[in-house]
Symmetry: C2
Subunit: 331 residues, 2 copies
DNA sequence: TTGTATGCGTTATCAT
DNA sequence: ATGATAACGCATACAA
């Protein structure tokens, strides 16, 4: 008798059914097998409650049906939502998802890429702060929101177009003097294009704008200082504000209200991201919505494409505008 | 010549260094090896850029250093935060984390448990709607917030104590007529104890309370109806409200303000969960804080314990109170 | 069609 | 201490 408590293997099934190992394999994998034997094998499988060891399968096939998803911070609603959709897309394709959170730490990124290689994953989807991150030749890698060159496709939303859209929306809503609040990031992120798009949009619509950029690592308090410096006699110099992220917009709105400004009556605010607190359809603020499900889907498709004859350098997905209470366009 | 583009294996290293396979294995695993050979092997490893295949390792050892984490909804801030901390705890112990999201679907739960078994994970941490979920004998399973009996440990925060704490806090803050808003769930969740704890707390402090339970699947609108039904001549019948979750509290506050009630001046609100929007230290509302990092740590410890001679049925972790702007105790 | 033998990359057992 | 060999569970090429 074999080990008792252990899980049944293909060999056990073969013995139980009185057939050869290969036959069981064929039944399990849907290869043609004569009816009578097929029944015997299937009975044995049910009797032993056998289930295939996809782990051993992977060792043999060289493909593990596993993809690593690497992000800086799972607590960030954007990454959490993206993780959720990537997970769905992968599961739909019968692939597992390994999660790695890096806390914006290049060292951890390196470490996890090594772990991913050791774990024989079929590919990696993720965001890397370190644009020079060394990833194996043969290992498919899809970057989010950050161009890394060298045959590594990057998927992002249309940041430039989103910036333009925000400027146009503010103009439509009657704004004539607007500000643009940015939080710089040193990573080669695509986010910088939001600022450029906004500037471009302001120029086409001929409205005056002022830029305020927070240095990297500088706290949001700098925004508070900037805003209060532009208030004279209780009146703010701007009637519209574009913020590069929803979290920045959320902070700006809080600050403005603390400073006695009414949002959206005195000043309208548009963020970027499309964040929802409970994902019930209510946005945190009026915002440029990123197509998160589509981003996820594209990432998964790209990373699983074996025969990547033409892999795009950058896939740019369309954004839309969403009302969230901080503008005057009651829906 | 072997396949060129393929990754180097232990055998390649052995050949390169001119030693036997077992010796390379010993070097890699830190077993005692004579100095000179060790050097030769290490040189060969560096030269070939060899890295161990933890996948094959798992096949041999029967342990994969992989744990599945199964939750209903990654978009929910609580689960996202817990996922983040479980991930950290596992990574610290050099374990990978597979993510599965079930969307509260018992069918998916079953499917994923099977996938987990096929994937040869070392254990599963998760929340299951289906209390009768069949999980393998030998497969360690740790349940979150939901007792499943039969040798499956459950980890949760002190829901009863948290309810009591909320009642006590409201009493301390001067409330005399309070309400308790609940969203029932049919799952055998531990959350129900929050209600019981609150009732108990009200009794000890001798304050009047009224319960309002939403049926399963009933929308939050029912809360709006309940609240407006308890307003006469512009005055709400309650001076304090305890909500079983932060999201419910958030909705209640929004509704109360729409109904012309001032929070916290007219009515104070306490939620449960400890949710933070951007995890910057600011709570969404005054709340009972769940010790998420500790919950994560305990789950990981429990699931990785091999020799589980005494495994607890329920591990209950202490909660604390946190000010979040919807009560009168400005910190 | 069905069965047999070999190999995937690693570790463990046994001789040496 | 070191090296050859078997075994983990499965898939596949090949033989029957």
């Amino acid at each position: 008798m074999k080990k008792e408590g252990s899980v049944p293997t293909m060999r056990d099934v073969a013995r139980e059914a009185g057939v050869a190992l290969g036959t069981v394999s064929n039944v399990v994998n849907g290869k043609p097998v004569s009816g009578s034997l097929k029944i015997r094998v299937e009975d044995a499988i049910k009797k032993l409650n056998y289930q295939i060891d996809s782990y051993a399968q992977g060792l043999k096939a060289g493909r593990t049906h596993t993809v690593a998803f690497m992000i800086p911070d799972m607590q960030d609603p954007f990454w959490a939502s993206l993780a959720s959709h990537v997970n769905r897309s992968l599961l739909k394709r019968k692939h597992r998802m390994l999660l790695y959170t890096t806390d914006y730490d290049s060292e951890k990124e390196r470490e996890y890429v090594v772990m991913a290689r050791q774990g024989k994953v079929d590919g990696i989807i993720g965001f890397a702060c370190n644009p020079g991150l060394a990833v194996e030749e043969g290992m498919p890698f899809v970057s989010i929101d950050c161009c890394m060159g060298a045959g590594i496709p990057c998927v992002s939303s249309d940041n430039f177009g989103g910036g333009r859209l925000a400027a146009g929306k503010l103009a439509d809503l009657g704004c004539r003097n607007v500000a643009c609040l940015c939080a710089e990031s040193s990573f080669g992120s695509e986010m910088g294009k939001r600022k450029a798009g906004f500037a471009d949009g302001c120029l086409s619509r001929r409205i005056a704008y002022e830029m305020k950029s927070l240095g990297e690592g500088e706290s949001y308090e700098g925004v508070g200082d900037f805003l209060s410096a532009h208030i004279s006699e209780g009146k703010l110099a701007f009637d519209g504000i574009f913020c590069m992220t929803d979290s920045l917009a959320y902070f700006a709105v809080k600050t403005l209200r603390k400073l006695g400004q009414k949002v959206p009556e005195d000043v309208q605010v548009i963020g970027f991201g499309g964040l929802q607190l409970f994902w019930d359809g209510n946005y945190l603020c009026s915002t440029i919505i990123q197509p998160i499900p589509e981003i996820a889907e594209v990432c998964v498709e790209l990373v699983l494409q074996e025969d990547r004859v033409t892999k795009p350098l950058l896939v740019c997905l369309p954004v839309t505008y969403g009302y969230g209470g901080t503008t005057l366009d009651c829906p």
